[in-house]
Amino acid sequence: MFEITLIFTTALGLAWLLGSYMTGIFSGQSHFSDRLFNPIEKWVYRAIGVNANSGMTWKSYGAAFLISNLVLGILAFLILKFQHLLPLNPDGIGPLSWDLALHTAVSFLTNTNQQHYSGQAQLSYLSQGFLIVTLQFVTPAMALAVCVAILRGMLGGLNNDSAKEGEARNLGNYYVDLVRGVLRLMLPLAAIVALLLTWQGVPSSFDGAQKVNTLDSASPITEQIVPIGPVASMVAIKQLGTNGGGWYGPNSSNPLENPTPVSNAIETIALVLIPMAVVFMAGGMLRRKKFTLMALVAMGLLSVSFLGATVYSELQPNAAFAGLSAQGPNMEGKEVRFGPELSALWASFTTQTSNGSVNAMHDSFNPIGGLMTRSGMLLNAIWGGIGCGFVNFIVYVWIAVFLSGLMIGRTPEIFGRKLETREITLLGSLLVLPTLCVLGLTAITVAIPSITGNSNPGFHGISQVFYEYTSAFANNGSGFEGLGDNTPWWNISCVIALLLGRYLPLFLPLAIAGMMSSKRVSPDSNASLKLESPTFCFTLIAVILIINFLSFLPAAVLGPIGEALQLATMSLEK
């Protein structure tokens, strides 16, 4: 328990420092980091062909975001499809099938890192070290850029002081925000984390695999091939960028990807650091520190209660071990050096932040642990993925503002700007979207047993399918890994969930913030809703929980809740 508290508070403390740094680099004011980064950025801006002093409206900003994603996605698909013709492929790995290449490209483009291929065996060094690492840097920075633009829009844009009502608002320059996010935020952090991880034992080399003998000459294998590579550099950004796609198949449960408890602490902190820092940054950019406090309380309460339930669940014995072992926690799929508590901590953070890396196998978690991880993904607003998590949170805030407005009988407004029919319509579609996509695809897949590819029977089989689409839609990327998911059906249906779950929840809020930015601002009065009040915070938590309960409780009953009841009956019978 002490270690969990220590990691949690250290992450919050570092996030506070990092948050004010991020406010600095995105505020457009001069900043201490300018001296180091301005000369480098000048070259990058020249390479892109962008004028760093120009701004964009929400429509241009959104177009830049979508079109740059399309271009990068096509590039990624081509590299994966033709990796066998490209250099840096010492092991002669072949091309991916078109559906697997499409799924992999979209999965990494959407900051999801859901993997239907198997780690080191199907991707060349070029695909992993060059393409995927780049996507892991760029995609969180893209979502962060959109988040920053939305925050600017909520205060009327950068030209708020001079612009009149209805006049175009400047939400910043997409390419400048993107480059700053990569160069000033992700790269320095990743370099530090990568070196710390190498120190703890994560490989960092361009050499091929190491061949070693085994000690016991009587054992069935006499040598082992230990795969190494530029692992540490990838693992660092995998953790920091809410990416989750690891070097090795079983991710950070593999002892080479996460060798010691200290490396585990570093990776766990890296997992939540930037998502937490975004919350602090938001308060700075909105010039409302109390808004950050309200968000921290709402997210913190949900985060800690989900975490508590997961830890409790994994400290319980695994039902399959009843009567066959000494009393002990559920250790199936877990590593001795971490134990159940640190595995539960990681599982909670990785699903809350839309990271998706794992240090234990979620498929073998006790049912309540499995349910908690899924809940974290479905909310996707407790910390959440970099940028998109806080955008989701803002969406919930808008909805709570709308509902509160109805309750107190006033036109709902936020920071003085009214939420009207157009905005509410878009918000409504954002609410329906996850249910439609996740449950719709789950229903279709479960209805046709020949395409599901389950490895576990009964309730857990439904859970596997539900988990996979949840993970795709929430851009998380973790999986119940027993699922046989490299088939055209799984690849293509997941691509649909990935695209819908990434672009609509980022683009529509940008549109809402953009439309609201040029509205007339009504002055703060005693009668206006206090966003920073405990009452609003409580309303917000209730809104988040009720929306998701209504949407997903029936499906949860068919999956993990059914499984938990089944296990309880089984142990009564024994």
């Binding site: 079109i67 160069l183 198949g249 695994n318 119940f480 499984e563």
Partner: protein, 199 residues
């Protein structure tokens, strides 16, 4: 300053392509290259997989479990992938899956027979496969369970083996992080060392 511009879709596509290429170079080439080389220079052993050498022969990686079947060695946790680092993975069996129950029952009976103990004496980690199938550690209880068998096979006194195990119990790292654990490969190498001195 900060005038608003309205790029066309083509201009966006061109800037998007140039940005993608520039960032591929910065992240994919400069970052990966620099950090990997620097890590290798600062921590040469760790960077290449923490390989343990005995008499100049690579005897495994500190972080990769090996299979042990000779009763004179401590055994690792069971592996869902036959201790193959290239195939690394977990069982992914759910607690409700009958296949898991069957496997645990078989392993439990095997260990009861091998170590002459009751089911209720077997620590959970000796029956459970790990996340990656390569967990190099066992719990201190799992090591102590095996002391009698190893001592007998090596014709050593039990207290001597127990003392050795006690030396190899790694406390939580820095006194705070993680669980108490025993690295099986290091312990077995030390056992061989004792045998060598005895000769």
């Amino acid at each position: 300053m900060n005038s608003i511009v309205y790029p066309t879709k083509t201009q966006h596509a061109v800037m998007g392509l140039r940005a993608s290429l520039a960032l591929l170079f910065v992240c994919g080439v400069v970052y990966t290259g620099t950090v990997t080389q620097l890590g290798g220079a600062l921590f040469p052993v760790q960077a290449k997989g923490s390989v343990i050498h005995r008499d100049n022969v690579a005897m495994g990686s500190e972080f990769i479990a090996q299979p042990f079947v000779n009763p004179a060695y401590f055994y690792s946790r069971p592996s869902a992938v036959g201790y193959d680092p290239m195939a690394t993975g977990g069982s992914n069996l759910a607690p409700s899956n009958p296949a898991l129950r069957e496997r645990v029952m078989a392993t439990s009976q095997e260990i009861q027979a091998r170590e002459s103990v009751q089911a209720a004496d077997i620590p959970v980690d000796l029956l459970a496969t790990s996340g990656a199938g390569l967990d190099p550690h066992i719990s201190p209880a799992a090591a102590k369970l095996q002391v009698a068998r190893v001592a007998q096979a090596r014709q050593l006194a039990e207290p001597q083996v127990l003392t050795l195990v006690a030396q190899f119990i790694e406390p939580p790292q820095w006194g705070i992080f993680g669980q108490e654990r025993v690295n099986v490969l290091k312990l077995n190498l030390a056992l061989d060392q004792i045998a060598k001195h005895a000769q």
